[in-house]
């Protein structure tokens, strides 16, 4: 038996198919995964993401700590509530995890990290935090619910505690706000507008049921995966891990390499950039029937070979899409080995879908 979120009983009662994800028993779908996907693209859906872990870092030295620990530059975080997507790296440049850092105040940042990596992340963070007097506290007392879709904010806002509503109504993209024990941020993993809401565990079931009553569709990890892949967002463990750097993972935009700031992994990335990055992560669109899956082999002509890191069926495009790690020179058309047959695919630049609309030529 895996670990359970505060919403486990609600998922089971709703008839969800439960699967193991990073050691947690999580809903993969409540009914049709494709209908859940469309609910988020067209209206509003909600995800229990309480398996993800909020980590509060507190202390006078928290900003200098994160300037050193994170590949993106937290000096960009000056307005309270501002969020930053970033990788945390090994000294050799491999990705320990990808996470979102929120600036709450000069003595308090919050990181939200992946479920499967939470334990190693916390150990790594504490190793660096303790010597500089910063406390790192995992907030397992919080549940996290993502409400996503074009109507997500309109449906969720009236259900928030009254003290939150004015602040959340004014939230810009990639900002969060703390109100009482709730933390509401305008972030997500779907390519749609919406909130991610961290709230006290004991209030999670009531809030979930109120959202459902307001017409927000419960969605499982299955839809979460097709939505994030259409949005061109990486999944840790599939698309990157400790064996690859952000520069090989289409995450160069999250790394602040220039300037004087030194951070863990910087030397390795600078060396890699100077030597030339041999591989890249790119999008693939399958041109024929079939479904791209992770680990399928990709033939990129004279550029060489690569591999799918994620693949699925895109309910919005009604085609198969994927992310693949390919030789840097790969371009144009490629072939993918699908059960012994070579099927044509085209290299495309993600995102595939944004705000309900196709972003590529199909």
């Amino acid at each position: 038996m895996g670990r359970r979120t505060p919403l486990y009983d609600i998922h089971v009662a709703a008839g969800a198919r439960m699967v193991d994800f990073g050691g947690w028993d999580m809903p993969v779908a409540y009914g049709s995964q494709i209908e859940e996907h469309h609910a988020v693209r067209r209206d509003a859906g909600m995800f229990d993401v309480s398996h993800m872990c909020a980590v509060d870092l507190r202390g006078a030295g928290v900003r200098p700590l994160l300037l050193r620990l994170l590949a993106n530059d937290v000096s960009r975080l000056t307005a309270p509530g501002k969020a930053l997507y970033t990788c945390m790296l090994r000294p050799e440049g491999g990705v320990i995890d990808d996470l979102i850092a929120y600036f709450i105040d000069e003595r308090w940042f919050r990181l939200v990290v992946n479920a499967g990596t939470a334990d190693k992340d916390l150990a790594w963070i504490k190793d660096h935090a303790k010597p500089v007097g910063v406390a790192a506290v995992p907030r397992r007392d919080l549940a996290i619910i993502a409400v996503q879709g074009p109507n997500a904010r309109a449906k969720a806002t009236p259900l928030l505690p009254e003290s939150c509503r004015a602040a959340t109504g004014a939230l810009g993209t990639f900002f969060g706000t703390l109100c009482d024990e709730w933390f509401v941020s305008r972030t997500g993993y779907t390519g749609e507008d919406g909130f991610e809401i961290a709230l006290p565990s004991e209030t999670a079931a009531d809030f979930w049921q109120a959202l459902a009553a307001a017409g927000v569709a419960p969605c499982g990890l299955g839809a979460r995966d097709t939505l994030r892949l259409e949005a061109g967002m990486n999944l840790y463990g599939n698309d990157m891990d400790e064996t690859v750097t952000p520069l090989e993972s289409a995450l160069a935009w999250t790394v602040a390499l220039d300037g004087n700031r030194d951070f863990v992994g910087k030397g390795a990335l600078v060396a890699q950039r100077e030597a030339g990055v041999a591989r890249k992560l790119t999008g693939l669109l399958l041109l024929e029937r079939g479904v791209l899956r992770s680990h399928q082999k990709v033939f990129a002509g004279t550029a060489g070979e690569g591999e799918l890191t994620s693949g699925t069926y895109s309910p919005t495009l009604e085609r198969s899409i994927g992310l693949a790690r390919l030789p840097a020179a790969a371009a144009g058309s490629v072939e993918v080995d699908i059960r012994g047959k070579r099927i044509a695919a085209r290299i495309v630049k993600p995102p595939f879908v944004r705000h309900g609309k196709s972003m590529i030529e199909t």
């Binding site: 049709s32 494709i34 299955g222 029937r289 079939g290 479904v291 069926y313 059960r339």
Partner: protein, 129 residues
Amino acid sequence: MSSYPADLRYTKSHEWLRTLQDGTIEVGITDHAQQALGDLVFVEVPEAGRHLAAGDACAVVESVKAASDVYSPIAGEVTSGNPKLATEPELINRDPYGAGWIMRLKPAGGAATETLDAKAYEAVAAAGG
């Protein structure tokens, strides 16, 4: 809840078999199987004229989540793969024992995969097989 019509035979690998009036055998996947797979998005059916041995992988059903092989429960010659599944794979989700049939074949006799009646199969499915 999944349903298992009493007039069909079933395999432990989640296929069903129906004997049609002309003696050909219709094969599909069970309600339990389609529920476990989730929304089907791609189905590859065998071509007419293909000779299969019992236990041969004869079709591929892919859901959003995963690809899965379908095995022929008996030896025989394929008379037809369901042509509608190329454009409507969701027929298997909607009507696994009817419009979602996968192939029909003329039995060749000889060795066959062990088949179960509905009650015995239901026990296999309930055990998470």
